[in-house]
C-alpha cells in the first residue's frame, strides 16, 4: 500500500515540477518576445514552416472529416426523419468542433514533433548553448518565433480545414442526390451568425500556444543524445495533443457561456 502511495506522490511531484518549469519557461519566452531586438526574419520563416508546410495535411484531414461527417450524418438523420437538416448539421459540426480540433491535432502531430525534434537535436549537439554563448537569447531566437507562428497560423489553417471539410461534405451529398453548392450553403448557414464562426476559429490560437510552448519546452530541456531527441519528439506530440484536447473541453464551455 505504502509503496503505491509513495509512487503516486512521486508522480504528482514530478508533474508539479514539470508544470513549474513550464511556467518559468513561458515567462522567459514572454519576456524575450516583448523586448527588442525582434527576430522578424525567423518569425517569417516559422510562419512558412508552420503554415504553408502544414496546409496540405490539414486540408486533407479537413476533407476526410467532411466526407465522414457527411456519410454518418446522412445515415443518422435519415433514420430520424431529419434529412433536411443535413447541410446545417455538417456546417455546424465542421465549424464548431471538428475543423478546429482536427487542425489542432494534425498540427500538434506535424509541427509539435518537428519543433520538438529540431530543438532537441540542437540542444544535444550544444547548438543552443553556442547560441547562448554568442550572447543571443535562445528564447527570443528559437522559442518565441515558433510559438508565435503556431498561434498566428492555427486559425488560418482551421479556416482551410473548415473550407475543405464543407466542400467535401457537399460533394459527398451531391454524389448521392442532386444538391447545388448554393442550396447547400443557403440551407447550411441558415440561422448561423458570427458567434458560431469566430469563437471556435479563434480558440485555435490557444491550441497554437499549447503546441508551440510544449514542443519548444520539451525540445530545449532535452538531455541524453539521440534517445533524448526521440523522447522529446514523442513527448511533444503526446503532451501537446493531450493538452489541446483538455483545453478544448474548457474552451467549448467558455464559448457556450460567453457566446451563447
Amino acid at each position: 500500500m505504502f509503496p503505491m502511495v509513495s509512487s503516486a506522490l512521486g508522480l504528482i511531484n514530478k508533474f508539479l515540477e514539470w508544470f513549474g518549469d513550464l511556467g518559468i519557461f513561458f515567462w522567459q519566452v514572454v519576456r524575450a518576445a516583448v523586448t527588442p531586438p525582434f527576430e522578424f526574419r525567423e518569425l517569417f520563416r516559422q510562419l512558412d514552416e508552420v503554415g504553408s508546410m502544414s496546409l496540405p495535411l490539414v486540408a486533407l484531414a479537413g476533407a476526410a472529416t467532411g466526407i465522414v461527417l457527411s456519410l454518418e450524418a446522412r445515415y443518422s438523420l435519415t433514420r430520424f426523419g431529419a434529412k433536411s437538416l443535413l447541410p446545417a448539421a455538417i456546417v455546424f459540426s465542421v465549424i464548431h468542433e471538428t475543423g478546429p480540433i482536427i487542425t489542432g491535432l494534425v498540427v500538434s502531430g506535424r509541427v509539435g514533433a518537428g519543433i520538438g525534434a529540431e530543438l532537441a537535436s540542437m540542444k544535444v549537439t550544444e547548438q543552443i548553448d553556442a547560441i547562448e554563448a554568442s550572447a543571443v537569447n535562445p528564447y527570443r531566437l528559437l522559442a518565441a518565433p515558433r510559438i508565435l507562428a503556431c498561434i498566428l497560423m492555427l486559425p488560418l489553417l482551421t479556416l482551410a480545414a473548415d473550407l475543405c471539410g464543407l466542400l467535401m461534405g457537399w460533394v459527398t451529398q451531391a454524389l448521392v442526390e442532386p444538391l447545388s453548392l448554393r442550396q447547400f450553403i443557403d440551407s447550411g448557414f441558415k440561422g448561423a451568425d458570427f458567434n458560431d464562426f469566430l469563437p471556435p476559429t479563434f480558440k485555435t490560437m490557444v491550441f497554437g500556444l499549447i503546441i508551440g510552448l510544449i514542443a519548444c519546452f520539451q525540445g530545449m530541456r532535452t538531455r541524453g543524445g539521440a534517445a533524448g531527441v526521440g523522447r522529446a519528439a514523442t513527448s511533444s506530440v503526446v503532451l501537446s495533443s493531450l493538452f489541446v484536447i483538455l483545453a478544448d473541453v474548457v474552451l467549448v464551455k467558455l464559448i457556450l457561456i460567453f457566446f451563447p
Binding site: D129, A130, S134, N137
Partner: protein, 262 residues
C-alpha cells in the same frame, strides 16, 4: 547628489574593477544530483594570460568553463568577469558580458543548418547591426583566413572534418573580438598533425589578440604549448597551479601520477 567621499569610493571601485583579473573564480561549488563535480575551486586569469586546466576525464573541467560563461549556475561561489559577478544575472545582462567572451566547444557546436560562412557571420548579424552586409562578409572572410578556412565558405559543417570544424568554431568565437577566450578540449579527437595545427593557431591568435584564455584539456603537450600557467584539478579542486616545470618538480603523488601517464 553624491558627496565627494561617495564619488571617491565609486571611482575607487571602478579602478579596482579595471585592475581586476579578466576571469576570477572563487570557492565555486557545483553538483549534479548527488554527484559533486566542483568542490570549492578558485582560479584567476589576467588579460593576455593563458591558463591550461588539466585533469582526468569527468573531473569537472568542462563544467568549470560552462560556469564561467554562465551556461550553468553554481551551487555557491562567485564567477567574476572583469570584476563583475555574473552569478544570478538575467539572460540579457549576461549577454552583455558574453559579448566580450569567445567559446570554443569540445565538438565545435556549429549550427548544422548554416554554412561555414553563415556560422561565423551569426554573432555579427546579431550584434553588429551597424555594419553593412559587405562589411560582415569582409570580416567573416578575414576571420576564416586567420584560421585557414577561407576556401570553404559555402560548405556545410557536415561536409568538413572535425579539425576543420574546430577551426570554424574558433573563427566564430573570435567574431566579436572578445577579450576572453575559453577553449574546451581544442585538440580532443584530432590526429597529431591537426592537433599541432590547432595548437599553433591558438598560440598565433593569442599573440595577435592578447586575450585572457582558459584552455581545458587532458592533452599535456597541448597545454604545455598553448599555456604559460597550468592548473591540475582533481575531485573538483585545484591540486597544483604553476608552470610546467613547477608541475614536473612537484612531490604530490597525484601530480606525478598524472604526468607519468600523460
Amino acid at each position: 547628489m553624491d558627496t565627494i567621499d561617495q564619488v571617491a569610493v565609486k571611482r575607487g571601485e571602478a579602478e579596482k574593477d579595471s585592475s581586476a583579473p579578466a576571469i576570477a573564480v572563487e570557492d565555486l561549488h557545483k553538483s549534479f544530483g548527488s554527484q559533486k563535480v566542483l568542490n570549492g575551486i578558485s582560479l584567476a586569469v589576467s588579460r593576455g594570460e593563458t591558463l591550461a586546466v588539466l585533469g582526468r576525464s569527468g573531473t569537472g573541467k568542462s563544467v568549470l568553463l560552462r560556469l564561467i560563461i554562465g551556461l550553468e549556475k553554481p551551487d555557491s561561489g562567485s564567477v567574476r568577469i572583469h570584476g563583475q559577478d555574473i552569478v544570478g544575472l538575467a539572460l540579457d545582462q549576461l549577454g552583455e558580458i558574453r559579448m566580450k567572451m569567445g567559446f570554443l566547444f569540445q565538438h565545435a557546436a556549429l549550427y548544422d543548418s548554416l554554412t561555414v560562412e553563415q556560422n561565423v557571420a551569426f554573432p555579427l548579424q546579431h550584434h553588429k547591426k551597424e555594419m553593412s552586409k559587405s562589411e560582415h562578409g569582409d570580416r567573416v572572410k578575414k576571420l576564416l583566413m586567420e584560421v585557414g578556412m577561407e576556401g570553404d565558405l559555402e560548405k556545410m559543417p557536415s561536409d568538413i572534418s572535425g579539425g576543420m570544424q574546430k577551426r570554424v568554431g574558433l573563427a566564430r568565437a573570435l567574431a566579436l573580438e572578445p577579450d576572453i577566450l575559453l577553449l574546451d578540449e581544442p585538440t580532443a579527437g584530432l590526429d597529431p598533425i591537426s592537433a599541432a595545427e590547432i595548437n599553433d593557431l591558438v598560440l598565433k591568435l593569442q599573440e595577435e589578440h592578447h586575450m585572457a584564455s582558459i584552455v581545458v584539456t587532458h592533452d599535456l603537450h597541448s597545454a604545455k604549448t598553448i599555456a604559460g600557467r597550468l592548473a591540475l584539478i582533481n575531485e573538483g579542486n585545484v591540486v597544483i597551479e604553476g608552470s610546467f616545470e613547477e608541475l614536473q618538480n612537484s612531490d604530490i603523488e597525484f601530480v606525478r601520477e598524472f604526468l607519468k601517464h600523460s
